[in-house]
Symmetry: C2
Subunit: 355 residues, 2 copies
C-alpha cells in the first residue's frame, strides 16, 4: 500500500500523542521518521514504530521530558534529552548548532540521556537546508560490531552522516553505518534463503559465517572492511571514533560497560553528536556549492565498469526516491502496516490510514 | 641502520635548509616527518624525502612562502600555504585551531595552496598534547581511488585522522587512508612475489586483480570496503567527504578537474582541513579522559579469536613503536638511506649520519 507522506505523518502523530507526547513533540518525531521514508531509507522510518513501542513497554522512554541545555558557549552546547526518544532532542540540538554556526561559522552540540534517533542523515539535511554542512553521529544501546581480532560485540552500528549543500545538485547526502552491512541485510538473506556474503557477519565463535541463521543468532557484525586483510581495523576505528564523539564527549554510557559501571541506571543514556559549519566562513557566497556541483558532475561522468550501472554519488538514490515518493506516496508493506495498526490499537490511537 | 630521532631530524633539516627553507621551516618539517618515523608510520616519514626532492625538481614547491591567514573568525580560519610543502602551513593551521579552541571550545582551520603534508595523524597529536581532540584531513594531487561501479581514479587516498587524549592511555590515535589499502601494500606484494588480496586493486579495465604488476600499472585502488557487496560505497563516500572538507571548503583544486578548470595553474593547490575541540566545553575536567580510558580498557579485554593476537586499539602499534624507537632509534633500510644521501648530495647539504 502506498501512503502519502502527510497521511503517514498524521498517523504517527496520533500514535505518539496517545503515548503521551505533546503535540509538538509528536509532530517533530513523525517528521524525522518520514524524512527517512520519503528518501527511501526504509530501515529508519515507519518501520521503527514497533521497536519504539517495545522500548516504551520496557519503560525506556520518558514521553514528558524536560529537554534542556546543560552547558553552552557561543559554539558548543551539551543537551540533556531526559530519556525522550531521540528525534526531538536531536532536532533541538541540530537546530541549536545551526543557529550558532550561522553566527560564528561553526558549532557542535552533543546530547546525552537519549534514545534511538532514527536516521542519522536527516539531521544533516536540516543544516544543508540552511546552506550549512551538517554532521550527525550516534551511539547505540547495545553492541553488534566486533573489533578486529575479537569475538565480542563492542559497538553499535555507530553511523556517520555528512550532508553538504550544492546548487545544481541539492545535497551531497552521506549516511552510513560503520559496520560492513546493517542487520537488515542478514534478515533479508534469511527471508530469501540466500547465503550471507562472506565477511558480513560472524558466528558465536567469532568465525566468519555465510549462514544467515548463525549470523542472526550471534548478532556479531564485522566493522567496515570486513576482514583484517581488507582493513576491518579501519571500520573498527571509525566505530570507536563515533563512540568517543557520542559517549565520551557528552558523558553518555558506553554500552558494554553500562551494567558494571552504572548498575542502578534506569535508562540506557545513549548519546549523539552534531556539527554544523558554514562554508561562507571560508569562501565567498556560492563558491563552495559551485565546486561541490563540479565534483558531483565529474563523478557522474566516470566511465562505469558495467554500462548499465552508472557511477552514483552519495544522495543520488535518496533524491530519486524522494521525487518518486513525493508523487506516488511511500510504499508500506502489508505486514508492517498491520504491525503499526496493532501499535495504534494498543496505544488507543485512532487509525487514519483506511482499511 | 638505526638512527636516533634527533640525528635524523638534524639531517633532514640540513637538506631542507639547502633546498631554501628557513631554519624554522626546516625544523618544523623535520619534526613532523620524524613524528611519523618515531611512531612506526614508516610510509610517511623520512621515506618521503625522495618524493619531496622530485616535487622540488618539478617546481611544485615554494620554499620561501608567505604563509598567511586569508579569512578568520574566533572559531574558523582559512590559511594560504603559498605552495610550501604541507608540514609548516599545516602545523601553523592546527596550532591556530588549538589556540582558538582553547578559548572557544571548538575551531576549524582549512588550508589551500598546499602540498603533501606527511602523516595526517601527527597534526591530531598536537591537539591531544594540549588536552584537545584533533582531527586532520587532506586531499591529494592525483587520483588513485576508484568510485564504486566506476573504472577511473577520482580521489587520493584522502585520509581521516582523529586523535583524542586519555590519561592512563596517552591517546586514541586513529589515522587511516580511505582506500582499502595504501599503494605501499601493492609494492610490498610485488617485492615479495605475492598475489594481492582480491579486493585491494583493479587492473586497467576496472576488474579486480590479484596481480601486483597489473595493480601497480593501473594504480586504481578500491575504496574501503573493497567491493560493492562489502560496501565499498561507504569508503567511496568517506573519500568524497574528505575531498569536500579539503578542496571545496578552502577552495583548493579537485585533482580530476584541475587541468580542465585551471589550465594555467602552475601549482597543484591541494587542501587540508583541521579541527580542534576541547572536551571541557562539554564536561568537567578529566571526565572525558577517564571515560576514554575505560573504553580502551574494555576493548583490550575483549576475547580474541586467536589467543596469540589480542585485540588492539587505534594507537597501540604507534605507542609501542614510539617506546621502542625512542630507546633504540629509528630503523632506516640501507636502500632508503642511500636515496636520502643522494638527495643530500644533490642539494649540497652536509651528510651527518656517518658512513
Amino acid at each position: 500500500m502506498n501512503i502519502q507522506r502527510s497521511d503517514l505523518q498524521r498517523q504517527l502523530e496520533a500514535i505518539f500523542t496517545a503515548w503521551g507526547m505533546s503535540a509538538e513533540h509528536a509532530a517533530t518525531t513523525a517528521l524525522r521518521l518520514t524524512d527517512a521514508d520519503i528518501r527511501g531509507i526504509d530501515s529508519h522510518g515507519v518501520t521503527l514504530v514497533p521497536l519504539y513501542a517495545q522500548l516504551r513497554a520496557e519503560g525506556q522512554i520518558n514521553f514528558k521530558p524536560n529537554i534542556r541545555v546543560l552547558r553552552e558557549s557561543p559554539v558548543t552546547a551539551l543537551v540533556d534529552a531526559d530519556h525522550m526518544l531521540g528525534h526531538v532532542p536531536s532536532t533541538f540540538a541540530m537546530e541549536l548548532a545551526i543557529e550558532k554556526a550561522k553566527k560564528t561559522g561553526l558549532a557542535a552540540v552533543a546530547v546525552k540521556n537519549s534514545n534511538h534517533y532514527g536516521a542519522a542523515g536527516v539531521y544533516g539535511v536540516l543544516a544543508a537546508e540552511q546552506g550549512l554542512i551538517g554532521m550527525s553521529f550516534t551511539s547505540v544501546w547495545h553492541g553488534a560490531v566486533v573489533p578486529t581480532f575479537g569475538k565480542e560485540p563492542m559497538f553499535g552500528t555507530n553511523p556517520i552522516a555528512f550532508v553538504a549543500p550544492g546548487k545544481k545538485h541539492k545535497t551531497f547526502f552521506f549516511d552510513i553505518a560503520t559496520s560492513t552491512v546493517a542487520v537488515g541485510k542478514l534478515k533479508l538473506a534469511q527471508i530469501h534463503g540466500r547465503p550471507l556474503h562472506e565477511g558480513w557477519a560472524m558466528d558465536k565463535e567469532g568465525r566468519l559465517t555465510t549462514s544467515a541463521e548463525a549470523g542472526l543468532e550471534a548478532m556479531m557484525l564485522t566493522p567496515l572492511g570486513g576482514t583484517r586483510p581488507m582493513s576491518s581495523h579501519k571500520g573498527y576505528g571509525l566505530a570507536a571514533m563515533v563512540e568517543i564523539l557520542c559517549s565520551m564527549v557528552p558523558g553518555a554510557f558506553y554500552a558494554p560497560t553500562r551494567e558494571t559501571r552504572h548498575p542502578d541506571a534506569k535508562h540506557w543514556n545513549i548519546g549523539h553528536f552534531f556539527l554544523a559549519m558554514d562554508p561562507k566562513a571560508f569562501r565567498g557566497e556560492g563558491e563552495f556549492e559551485d565546486d561541490l556541483d563540479d565534483m558531483i558532475d565529474a563523478l557522474h561522468a566516470v566511465s562505469p565498469v558495467d554500462p548499465n550501472q552508472p557511477v552514483l554519488v552519495a544522495g543520488d538514490p535518496e533524491e530519486k526516491a524522494m521525487a518518486e515518493r513525493t508523487r506516488n506516496g511511500i510504499p508500506v508493506p502489508d505486514n508492517l502496516l498491520a504491525q503499526v495498526r496493532d501499535v495504534a490499537r494498543d496505544a488507543g490511537a485512532p487509525w487514519l490510514l483506511g482499511a
